[in-house]
Symmetry: C2
Subunit: 437 residues, 2 copies
């Protein structure tokens, strides 16, 4: 890894910059595919599935028998692992349920919020060589806990023309209601607009390549919500002399193996530590099946030395990493200084792969610095919070004049009148009560 | 109001459709303005402010003296009203703070979430004839409670070349840190990219016309988050025989006076009620200063009769209104049936204008059916929730094999290795402890 020494603070924003993603040239293609899907529905989806995914069957709906059969193709060992992961993800996301808190802001004015599930959600699971069933768990489990009625999953068919059994198994286990062997722009388009086969959804979740990302951005333009904008995966590690260099190296590599555009950053206050980690990187890299990919990613990555851990964390806040490992002394105490990050892993035993699979936290997280404004996926991502309010006569008397005054100042006289009529009614009633008393 | 009678359920989606907003033709203009602002900063902002807002001064930064002086131009009566509104908005949004809940998902695996403020936020307040100081309160107060460091406000200068004193007063009171007399596309561009005068923000809030909405959409494309997509304001009222027709009419008009594209819908199970409300509409309309606007909005609006209140609410869920008034018997009980809405007002005394100004709920809400997937603005809108996790040796032993198995099945061997190394360390330690015991 290239090592920088104590860069000046004014250079930090530049050092924290990600390589820009060019979506503009893909937008034209997305527009064309979306237009066709709106007009021709399934027929257009099938056409593009054949063109882009070499799909050869007549129907991309995955039927119940195929889903059931998938279970037999998954090893017992993997099923047990998935069961543990599911249980932990459920526990953590279930704890995110909120109780209703009624607040009496003024006497007789009671306000509260209640959560309601987003009724129909869509999950996109990318294709590729390996089956990303962990993403299925991370998105379908909170959707199910939230109470979403329709949980649609789209994933491109693999080389054999079908979705990998592990994905089907995880989807069925986690509560996905409909599965389609469709990928790319056409999958996002089908879920956005709905076709005869694919239900229209209100929000689309999940990672994807540049085509999928551009399509999700376009879907948002047409009124479908998305989980968050996304870019290549990232890891930033802050390591001091208490770290285990071999652990840190393994974490950096587990990020680097995602692909050549993965971002890996190491920050330290200790030159010797960086040296040792570099040595460990070389050793571990030699045995990796994805060696080439990881090597390329490491070439774009860098180690930066700062004067102390505090400064490392300050830089990390400017960078706003998707994953942040604090392999430092007193990591929980240090974590208070973190202001921008997707998910934070504390201490030598908290490796990113724990959170990627089975600790219970969600692995769908903001990349590319979006952690400055976005949270990762959680139960919140699958619900809306609706505000409710109820005013009594006392409430009307208490805030009525304030509402009238403000409405008048904003020159909204019908707004004012809605309160004046109620104030009038309440005083008429009070007068009547007084007479009768 | 045009009245429909018991429309078939298959026609509901069509009846719930909003008139589409055409942003495409504005996008070119937005791109041009954004390009200039990125290249030339303040100079470009000033150029467009002169061109679009007839701004004539040299500096659009509102200085401290101007802000202080504004206070003297606001009446004591309005100040008192604003103070009450502020107190209620504070109470309700403060109640949205969440305690940290640490969850031990497996023995030795502890996961939790912590909120961090979005550091820099931008608030857009539209211009126009009346000063929308209530929007300032609704956005700046939760930003302040969240702990945002920089709260930037942009608003176009009025006819006198300056922002209205009531807006400046509310902004100063609520904790806005910087104010700029800039409006439209150039305001959104300046906050998105940052200029020498205007700080770059991570998220932009606030309503606006089609130019502002298109610019916010473009800002999102360039990496700045936005509160939510927005369209014209809406109100849906469900009224049964227990409603007060004059109150309902006043609520419908308070929505209609927003502008000719405002959407007003009345649902009822009672023909007589609709007739009475219509009669009240005519009476109240006659006295409104914004009569013409409200009349136009009412022309696009409709009353729909259904067989019962339950069906009314089911239609309302398909429509997903920004504001929903339930002027029916047992409104709190009925409210459980509501699945899609921005904010719900329960019973005859809960008028929308209470929530618009002073009850404490936020009035920045999802329109155009976005309530199916989006919540209104709340404290949540100004924070990110970061996940944290800490694993002990016990945690590693508990979930280690599951992580290894899943990583292997996804062909991510460096992910697996990060866990294998830790598992090895823990068993080596355990062996050592055993020998020593």
């Amino acid at each position: 890894m290239k090592t920088l020494n104590n860069p000046a603070e004014r250079k930090w924003p530049q050092l924290a910059e990600r390589s820009a993603i060019k979506q503009a040239r893909l937008m034209e293609l997305v527009d064309k595919v979306f237009y066709d899907i709106r007009k021709k529905g399934d027929k257009a989806v099938l056409k593009y599935a054949r063109q882009f995914d070499r799909f050869s069957a007549d129907d991309f709906t995955v039927d119940h028998e195929t889903i059931e059969a998938a279970s037999q193709q998954v090893s017992e060992r993997l099923k047990q692992a998935i069961a543990l992961a599911k249980s932990n993800i459920e526990k953590f996301h279930f704890s995110q349920k909120e109780e209703i808190v009624k607040v009496e802001t003024s006497p007789g004015v009671v306000c509260w919020r209640e959560a309601r599930p987003i009724e129909n959600v869509g999950i996109y699971v990318p294709g590729g060589t390996a089956p990303l069933f962990s993403t299925v768990l991370m998105l379908a489990i909170p959707a199910k806990i939230a109470g979403c009625k329709e949980i649609v999953l789209c994933s491109p068919p693999g080389k054999e023309g079908a979705i990998h059994p592990a994905i089907l198994y995880a989807a069925n286990l986690a509560g996905v209601t409909r599965i389609f062997a469709v990928g790319g722009i056409q999958a996002i388009g089908a879920m956005s607009f709905g076709t005869k086969s694919v239900p229209k959804v209100e929000k689309i979740f999940g990672p994807g390549n540049q085509y999928v990302m551009t399509a999700k951005h376009a879907a948002q333009y047409y009124g479908t919500a998305i989980d968050m904008p996304a870019g290549p995966s990232e890891l930033l590690v802050v390591a001091d002399e208490t770290c285990r260099p071999s652990f840190v190296a393994s974490d950096l590599l587990s990020q680097a193996e995602h692909g050549p555009d993965s971002e890996v950053i190491l920050l330290s206050d200790n030159k010797k530590v960086v040296k040792e980690i570099n040595k460990e990187l070389d050793i571990q890299l030699a045995n990796l099946p994805r060696k080439e990919m990881a090597e390329k990613a490491l070439k774009n990555s860098r180690a930066i030395l700062f004067k102390d851990v505090e400064t490392c964390i300050r830089f990390s806040n400017v960078y706003a990493p998707e994953h942040l490992i604090l392999a430092v002394e007193n990591p929980v105490l240090r974590s208070r200084e973190v202001t921008n990050a997707g998910s934070v892993f504390l201490g030598n035993y908290s490796c990113e792969s724990a959170g990627d699979y089975a600790s219970g936290t969600n692995h769908t997280l903001p990349t590319s610095g979006y952690a400055k404004a976005y949270s990762g996926v959680s139960l919140d991502s699958f619900i809306k919070k609706i505000t409710f309010q109820q005013l009594s006569e006392e409430g009307i008397v208490g805030i009525g004049v304030a509402v009238e005054t403000m409405a008048e100042a904003e020159e909204l006289f019908a707004h004012k009148n809605a309160m004046t009529l109620r104030l009038g009614e309440v005083s008429a009633q009070q007068a009547k009560n007084y007479e009768n008393s």
